[in-house]
Each structure stands twice: as C-alpha cells, then as structure tokens.
Amino acid sequence: MSEHPLTVSNEEADLKNVAFTTRLEDFINWGRKNSLWPLPFGTACCAIEYMATVGSHYDISRFGAEVVRFSPRQADCLLVLGTVVEKMGPILKQIYDQMLEPKWVIAVGVCASSGGFYRAYHVMQGIDNIIPVDVYVPGCPPTPEGIIYGMLKLQEKITKGGIVRVRDRHKIAR
C-alpha cells in the first residue's frame, strides 16, 4: 500500500509533490492582486457604469474584486468614479488618508483623471492634484470592459511591485 500523499518523507522526490518554492514577495503579491477590496468613491456617471461592472452581466468577482467596502479602513483599492469638484476634494483626501497600506487608486473616467471636458470654475482638473493615482482609465464614462481592464492593469502593477510600499512615496504638496 502506498503512503498517504501528504506524508513528508526524507526523499526529495516526494517533497516535490507536496511543496513548491517561490519568493515571499511574489507569493504575497499574488494574494493581494487576486483579492482587491475596492472602495467605490462614486460621484457621477462612472458610478453607474461601475454598478454595471459589479452587476450580473460583467461580474467583477471573476477578478476577485467583488467585495465592495464603503469603509476606507476595510478597503485597499480606491476607485474614484466620476467628477471630483473642489468641494469634494477634502473628502476624497480624507478617505484616502484613512485607508491602510497597502493601498492603490484607480482614477476611472476622464473627469477623475484630468477634469474631462469640464474646464470650469468648480471642477478639479484631475484627482492627482490631491492624491496619488496608480491607474488611469480613459472614457466618459469608460465601458465596464474598460473598468475591468483598469483592474487588470492594477493587478499587473501589483505583481511587479515590491511588498513594502513606502508610505510617502508620492508626497504631493497641496
């Protein structure tokens, strides 16, 4: 009778069946990228498209990012969905500051990325004026495919990045 497969024997050949080697960094990043907990900071039109992305047709849970959290303390991926006006700026900053490391930001849509076609007296010309952004998704609003693509790009970035993120990596003077 053969031994139970999980029994660790002295022989190296057996070890290959029960263990694999990797770098700690890769292992942690693999875990992080496949379980992003997004915080949808939805202000405008893009939030409706995000609803469609979460909805039954596009189903973002296929990419491990369906656990939507509205508390910044429980989320690690801030999705800024829609126009951020000057009045909203401090709130966005506060929410970003309340999130724990590691944290990432996706600017969804042109308004969040650059102000879009609102070159106006009350619209912030891109959220990167106040918080660092990892991925910019173009579109007004982006299609759900676009939002998913942005998510995948972020996953790529996480895979390539180190484990330790320097908190003040993007110090932005305001």
């Binding site: 609803m51 469609a52 039954s56 509205f70 006006v85 909203m88 709130i91 619209v123």
Partner: protein
C-alpha cells in the same frame, strides 16, 4: 443607588453626519442629523458636491455642443435630457422635427424612463438589503444598453439628438431588436413584482415611511412619480402633450399615500405604461428623414457636402458658426423620469446660448427630504432617500 442621568439641553441630541461618501447617500449627498435615540429630530442637507458648472459651460459652447453636457445631468437616463434640451432650442427656432424623428425620440425617452426606474427601484431595494432585484434589473438594463450602443456607440452618455433631428437614423434591424427587448421586459417586472410588492419585509420597511402630503408636495414643487404618489395625476405628457403622446393609449399611474411604498408602486406601474407606449410607437414608425430639411439647422447629407458647393458651404457654416436662433427666451419642459425637466434657453442671435437654465426635478424634491424624515428613524431615511431617486448630476448640475 439609582441616579437619573439628565443631560444638558445642548447634548440632548446626538449629532451624526451621513455622507457624502456613504453607501446610502449614493455618492454626493451630505446629511446632518440630530438624533434622539434612533429618531431623527432635526436634519440639515448640504449639496453641491457635484456642481460641475453646467450652466456656465453651456454659455461657452455652441448650441449643439451643449448636448453632451446635458447627458451628464441625469446620467441614469441621458436621452431624456438630450431630448429636453433640443426641444427647447427647436421651440426657439420655431421648427417642428419630422414625424419619424418624434416617434424615435418617444421610443428612446420611454426606454430611458424604464432604465431610470430600474436603477431607482433596484438601488432602493439594495439599500434595504434586497440584492436580488438589483441583479434582475441590471440584466434588463444591459439589454437596453446594448440597444443604445447599437444606435450611437455609447451606453450611458448617448448625445443622440441634434437640434432639428437625430445624430443619425436607426441602424438596420434595430426596431425588431427593440421589440424583442421590450417583449422580454414584462417577465423581469413580474419577477420583481413577486419578490417585492407583497413581500412582508418590503412592505414593513416602506409603507408609511417618508410620507408627504399632497399640499406639501405642491408647496415644494414636486413633479413626476413623487408627485403622482401623493394622488395628483399630473403628467406633462398628458397635460401639455408633445410628440403625439396624446395619441397613444396609456394611463397616468397614481397612488394616494405619498410614502415610499407608493412611490415604488408608481414607478413599477409607469414602467408597464412606458412599455405600452413603446409597443404602440414601434407599430407605427413613419418613414422619411429624421432631420429637418433646413441646412441652416441640420447638417446636409454627406453626398451633398462632397458633391455640391451649396452642401459644402452649408456644412462649413454650420460647423464654424453653428446655429443662430433668433433673439428671445423660451421655456420648454418634458416629463423626465424624475419629473418636470425644464430648459429655459435665452439667445442673443449668436452661435452660443446666452443662457441655459435647467429646471432639475430633483432639486425641488430633495429640498423636502428633511420634512419627510423628521420623526422617523435613520434607516427610514435611507429607504426614503432611495425612493426619491436623487441623481446628483441633476441636483447640483
């Protein structure tokens, strides 16, 4: 030993801030409440967190360039804003769009009304913990999105109308496709009807919650489903019919209680009425052009632009100088998903509007929110807010 705790007057109530980034406030609304236990004793609202300067932007763009900005007012049902805006410009120009264009606009408006109500009811149910309806409704919404995408390439922000007509005629096979989508819809409505309408929990959470009286609703300038839920059968499609709405057979849905449950029932009913209108409109689509035959307003056909000097000149003039409506100010209103959506446009005979004023239905409705909530619990306020369907893009413009 027992001592009674009597707090000083100033700290009798607990102050609580909801939003703007709060799941129940849908993004950009901020509510300050003073609570006694769980009962709301006082409420203050703060808006403007999505003030995107629509009215100022409109003054710096040409008449047709304003259309994309109107998409982003009530972005849940963008086509109705497109239609509302161009209607006011067409009124100022004194033109009537072709019958075919009118019929297409009716179909698109009613589809938009349906998807708007789908989001409203779906999100309202999510706020109260019923996630299933939301998935069901979004499946339907995706079907309509596909239709819109086939028509104009965009799902949400459609910019599908032009002053004097449409961006283009319907693509081939669109009408049959539309009929299929429309025929499928009653099934989903029935499903959600069975899930919610007689559901004990849904009724307990919504009946008698956030009520408003007829008189108060009028004082606050309510229109649309929220007004009809109080028992006033006012619908602009009936009161001031445009685009032959009076020729279709359909009913104005009303309820009497003015509470969250009534608003839910009105919206459910309206979706079925809209389906009726679409079906009748689909049966009888006149042929011909979608654009008015006036090259000072609508772009000439492409073969004319390439092959005739008149066409080329008209095209050039329209692109470079734009439309020039006569001097004057008009107000024109349509029945949008939330109520009366009015556009007041002023022209001084230039290529750009002198003034575009939007009368947003949400603005009037949201103002009454404290009055509807005082004396009820915070969770009731969440239920009420969902049923009012406040869309920040339209509220703050």
């Amino acid at each position: 030993m027992h001592t009674t705790l009597t707090p000083p007057e100033s700290s009798k109530y607990m102050r609580l801030n909801l939003g703007p980034s709060h799941p129940a406030t849908h993004g950009t609304l901020r509510v300050f409440v003073e609570l006694e236990g769980e009962i709301i004793r006082n409420m203050k609202l703060e808006i403007g967190y999505l003030h995107r300067c629509f009215e100022k932007m409109a003054e710096t763009h040409t008449w047709n360039q304003v259309i994309p900005f109107t998409d982003r007012l009530n972005y849940v049902s963008a086509m109705m804003n497109n239609v509302g805006y161009v209607m006011s410009v067409e009124k100022l120009l004194g033109i009537e769009v072709t019958k075919r264009c009118q019929r297409i606009r009716v179909i698109l408006c009613e589809l938009s009304r349906i998807i708007d109500h789908l989001v409203c009811i779906g999100a309202n149910a999510v706020d109260l913990g019923a996630l299933t309806c939301f998935w069901y409704f979004f499946r339907e919404r995706e079907n309509v999105y596909d239709l819109f995408e086939a028509l104009c390439g965009a799902r949400l922000t459609t910019s599908v109308t032009r002053v004097g007509g449409m961006y283009q005629d319907l693509p081939e096979g669109w009408l049959e496709w539309c009929r299929k989508v429309v025929n499928h819809m009653p099934r989903t409505l029935d499903e959600v009807d069975t899930l919610l309408t007689n559901n004990r929990i849904w009724i307990d959470r919504t009946k008698g919650v956030g009520p408003i009286s007829k008189e108060n609703a009028l004082e606050y300038g309510f229109t649309g489903p929220c007004l009809r839920a109080t028992g006033i059968a006012y619908d602009i499609r009936k009161a001031m019919p445009y685009y032959d709405y009076d020729k279709f057979s359909w009913n104005v849905v009303t309820q009497t209680e003015g509470d969250t449950y009534s608003r839910y029932l009105v919206r459910m009913g309206e979706m079925r009425e809209s389906l009726k209108i679409i079906q009748q409109a689909l049966d009888d689509i006149p042929g011909g052009s979608v654009n008015v035959d006036d090259w000072a307003i609508c772009l000439p056909p492409k073969d004319q632009v390439y092959n005739s000097i008149e066409g080329l000149m008209a095209h050039f003039k329209l692109i470079m100088h734009g439309i020039r409506p006569p001097v004057g100010e008009v107000y024109s209103c349509t029945e949008a998903a939330n109520g009366e959506l009015g556009f007041y446009v002023g022209s001084d005979n230039q290529g750009r509007p002198y003034r575009v004023r939007v009368r947003p239905p949400c603005f009037a409705i949201y103002q009454a929110f404290p009055e509807m909530c005082i004396g009820q619990t915070v969770s009731d306020a969440v239920a009420t807010l969902g049923s009012l369907n406040i869309v920040a893009g339209e509220l703050d413009r």
